[in-house]
Symmetry: C2
Subunit: 325 residues, 2 copies
DNA sequence: TTGTAAGCGTTATCAG
DNA sequence: CTGATAACGCTTACAA
């Protein structure tokens, strides 16, 4: 591990000159440059990125924190952030938050100490007041879910409208008793989607019935049980709106075994190849990630510029077969 | 951004004392500790992780480089590395290499400059001689694919045996003309799986026919075309062995539309819910990632210990319906 | 128990 | 065009 000092000594110049060569400073004579480069090769010199980064006080890294990488929705966000970061010569420090809200703060704070250039987070909690001091120093962008008790850029999808339209779609197909499938209403996105579902019912003059809301459906057994209850004679739903992709995927085995009309929030791989193919309200995770990362870069470059805090992307209905079962 | 020096000044002590408080050094009087902690709160002091890291010369970070995060196989590897890293108080710097081999070197070298504690890589090239100097200083573990021209730890699955057994399974179901579906033979894993396929044919006294090997099938159009050719009267295969999950997923729409006996290398989400459900030879990406990360930690702790270079995990046949179509 | 000095590898500043 | 010096924030020796 040769250092710059050693290279300098070998080339008979000062460290600063080596630094200049490294950074393509034009104020170096060709001869000197030549000599320095030879020494670098000789000693197999590799700059210590840690030192540079420390010196500059800011790490050329964008942090990305999402609940879970296995979920293709978040994987797509991360990938998009990575691509956008790459375009700006930044790397990405990826961290999974897990689905347990109590971990969020610890994890984010430990990431933030690294003097990142920015942070993209798909949060798992509703209260981000603890980030206020951080947000003052480094740009933070929220994706998928809005920040709570904190002013920060947010890139969201139209949870309310999307859920409303997806539900209305089932109503248009003649359904009157429509179940709501979800994980937990603690997540603001899911709560929003429930609101959209209610609005669609109301608009059609249908009653909202708490008993038709089935939660804890993010696992296969959970989804199976939820669907069983919804289908039981006392509830007798003829259609289901699934409020997120994890639940939908968990429900797939049950739905393919005992078909029921289904519309789901969030697309997922192979949704179009199932029997029945699942009708979904498609989000755009890649756009979310890309926009968020781009915003961080922009905030870093123009700290005072005024920009909209909240960007809501539309969702689009992809009609397949499951809504017509 | 208060620094340690400022906290020290505010508390009327030396920076070293603040450092001691921070690191829970017992040689600090309770009174002093109290005073220092008060100042830290007052100034909202947060340690600069960059400085600590620089001073220690090594970043408490494990790098993870995989071709692509969207692929659930690699997402599972990354997640497992993350979990194992977390257990050792390390973070993870995740980078996608892309599927273009020419990017690998640049990306890995830029990651390695950061003085990582270790690197897990699922490579896209066959020649890793350029990593030799790095491998001497920081532990590098390969997953999924073995390193080329480099001595390094590798955690692999039984590509050869798994492909052989998956093909034999089709033969056992009475098939005599079996196609091989793949992306590119440049990947050593795929080449190995082709060998396994050949071995199974040979063991059954069946001829190997180059025309039954269909490549470039990692996209939906590619897979559709490959299957069309294999099925054409001049090839007339009655069964297909798909050599990797990306190809299998790409082939799904064609296979569900025009069923053909299929066995695939690599499991994937919802494979069991398709019609037909896909019979797969399941890998264990989580184990791959976990073992690799654990190995890095072990190498770092015991640089001289002798450990096996190559660990090959078994794959397991998950029989579903597609092999009996 | 606490402090002083020195340095990790790089770069900014300012002289020459 | 080149170099001396200092500094980034923290910690390891070594003293006191």
């Amino acid at each position: 591990m040769a250092t710059m000092r050693e290279v300098a000594a070998a080339a008979g110049v000062s460290p600063k000159t080596v630094s200049r060569v490294l950074n393509d400073d034009p104020h170096v004579s060709p001869a000197t440059r030549e000599r320095v480069e030879a020494s670098m090769r000789e000693l197999a010199y590799v700059p210590n990125a840690l030192a540079t980064t420390f010196r500059s006080g800011r790490s050329p890294v964008i942090g990305v924190a999402v609940p879970d990488l296995i979920d293709p929705f978040f994987a797509a966000i991360v990938t998009a952030v990575e691509e956008e970061a790459l375009a700006h010569d930044l790397s990405t420090l990826v961290t999974s938050l897990g689905h347990d809200p109590s971990r969020e703060r610890t994890v984010l704070e430990s990431v933030l100490r690294r003097q990142l250039s920015g942070l993209v987070v798909a949060p798992t909690t509703n209260d981000h007041a603890y980030l206020e001091a951080w947000a003052a120093r480094i740009p933070i962008a929220f994706v998928d879910r809005a920040p709570g008790r904190l002013e920060a850029d947010a890139f969201l999808q139209d949870d309310h409208g999307g859920a409303r339209d997806a539900t209305a779609h089932l109503i248009a197909h003649g359904h009157r008793r429509i179940g709501f499938l979800g994980d937990s209403l603690a997540a603001p996105t899911i709560a929003e989607r429930l609101e959209g579902y209610r609005e669609a019912l109301a608009a059609a003059g249908l009653p909202f019935d708490d008993d038709l809301v089935a939660l804890d459906a993010a696992t296969r057994p959970g989804a199976a049980e939820a669907l069983r209850r919804l289908r039981a004679p006392d509830r007798a739903v003829t259609a289901v709106f699934s409020s997120d992709a994890r639940c939908t995927m968990a429900a797939v085995p049950t739905v393919t075994a005992h078909p029921i009309a289904l519309t789901a929030f969030g697309d997922f791989p192979l949704a179009d190849s199932l029997t029945p193919a699942i009708t979904v309200m498609a989000q755009n995770p890649a756009a979310l990630g890309r926009l968020a990362a781009a915003r961080l870069v922009e905030r870093a470059a123009h700290p005072t510029r005024t920009l909209p805090r909240r960007t809501v992307l539309p969702v689009t209905l992809v009609e397949r077969a499951s809504c017509r079962v």
